[in-house]
Symmetry: C2
Subunit: 345 residues, 2 copies
Amino acid sequence: MKIAVDAMGGDNAPAVVIEGVERARDRFKDIEFDLFGDPKQVRPLIKDATRINLIETTEMIEMGEEPVRAIRKKKDSSIVRAAVAVKEGQADAFFSAGNTGAILAAGLFIVGRIKGIDRPGLTSILPIAKPGSGAKNFVYLDSGANAESKERNLLQFAQLGRFYAENVLGVNNPRIALLNNGTEEDKGDRLHKEVHQQLKAQRDLNFVGNVEASALLAGEADVIVSDGWTANAALKATEGTAKMMLTLIKNGIENGGLRAKLGYLFLKPVFKKIAKLMGTSTYGGAVLLGLKAPVVKTHGSADALAVENTIAQIYTMIESKVIEKTVSYFGQVQSEENIDKPSKN
Amino acid sequence: MKIAVDAMGGDNAPAVVIEGVERARDRFKDIEFDLFGDPKQVRPLIKDATRINLIETTEMIEMGEEPVRAIRKKKDSSIVRAAVAVKEGQADAFFSAGNTGAILAAGLFIVGRIKGIDRPGLTSILPIAKPGSGAKNFVYLDSGANAESKERNLLQFAQLGRFYAENVLGVNNPRIALLNNGTEEDKGDRLHKEVHQQLKAQRDLNFVGNVEASALLAGEADVIVSDGWTANAALKATEGTAKMMLTLIKNGIENGGLRAKLGYLFLKPVFKKIAKLMGTSTYGGAVLLGLKAPVVKTHGSADALAVENTIAQIYTMIESKVIEKTVSYFGQVQSEENIDKPSKN
């Protein structure tokens, strides 16, 4: 299998991208990489070029650029070229740590949607942080690709999440929940009430009801589905609060004198475990689900470990044939419905 | 001044309500209380009846009841009777730890809206948890009274929040921010983009731009305005994550052997300070702003301290004449606009 890598994206690119790619290359003997970037910057950083092909690009999409305009204008950027390689079948998946909007736009407009999917959903793999819970992580979408979602989008997200949980996380009959402002089924605005009823009616979904944002990481479901707006707010609040709590503790230790510093030494293993659990390097990247190939982004501040883990995640996506299975499912749904859905972007 | 108290609302009512009321009575020599409840349960718990009038009610609205139906049917419930006392001018403010929906409904339909306010906003006073930040807390609305909000609602929330921050928190020229999915002014769905522009155009508002949910408690503004849906999700995620982090630490300590237990002893003051900062007893209750009198609820699991602090908050609301000033402002805006706004619920 071959993965097209945007070598230029991310705060510490290309160095950490290349380091992560080399680590993944050593770990998975059957992955080959096409590395898109500026040879002057990239080549000197490659320690061992085994199964790494460097492909020259002359442009770069910066972090702050307007995404759609950027991918239209910068045809020779590392993001656009890597996405085109996937579209043309020269690579099986796309990886980047760059401009999120540009990656989403390249995925949507270049790699393209699965037939039957109106809008892809940005999918985060999040930790379950309840001590004693069986599962380790869960699938969360749409964590922000769409500011406004409709009922059919959320139903499709549920199916996309189910296929991911089954095939990539290896969960049997994954529990699907809807993020809502209350656990009772009559809670929410019109959209969420209606989506709740429709999810409940889907025979092939193991729908377990609503989950509130306060229980996001509590392990109540294997897939939590939401409109992009709400999911984005809840995810940011969760990440921000976890970080803030650690900062408050750090600050308390720094200002707590010798006693607090001793306490920190004794509790260090506990804090380290929590920081690892809540850390962003552990679970891989965010997947734009609903596209014809894996399009995966890791955060801009990713280190080499995060890059390596994200490539491991892409490896499992390809190996498990999750996308082929998703395509086949939606193809069947479409032919059963016998409806020609209009193309919507 | 006189405060109408629902003695029967809350998980530990009437005991903690009465204990809190007595503490507040001892603290503020000019407050008189009308305590609405079942005399058989309430009277034996009153230690000292100074400035406490017990008013008999025969019904009670339970925590799970459908709010609007409950306030229509249970005319002799403690919530309805206390709200009617405020409406009829026998009391200056309403307090309850009971069924949130019923309190909101009683506020809206019995106490009534300020002229010019289309919808009241549920307002939480939240802690600022960034070490070294000047301010201690901020005003957050609408934290969940309305599942769907329109532009004019959010603009009114901003003004309601401004008056509260100025008068009750004593903040000079409070900074107003909009909760949004990005800090740039072009971020968000149509509603949030439009609200951003309108807030910016308001000459009497010190609008400082967008705040993301990740920075909710970071002290970037004195008032954070949001539609009820998003604010509710972000608040629940924040509260849930803070609680979860403390649980993870507790669990790590319990399973970390002697070393971790020693560490906990040394760090106890740090954890206590953080638990207090993030605790719900410190900042008083949630205010339904936009009504003709203070209608304030504290959470169902409130202890006597939370009841006392919430009454202190009501005291400041009455003393500062925040509602009179808000009424006068919206009256003026209305006469300037010279528009007869239709009544909307």
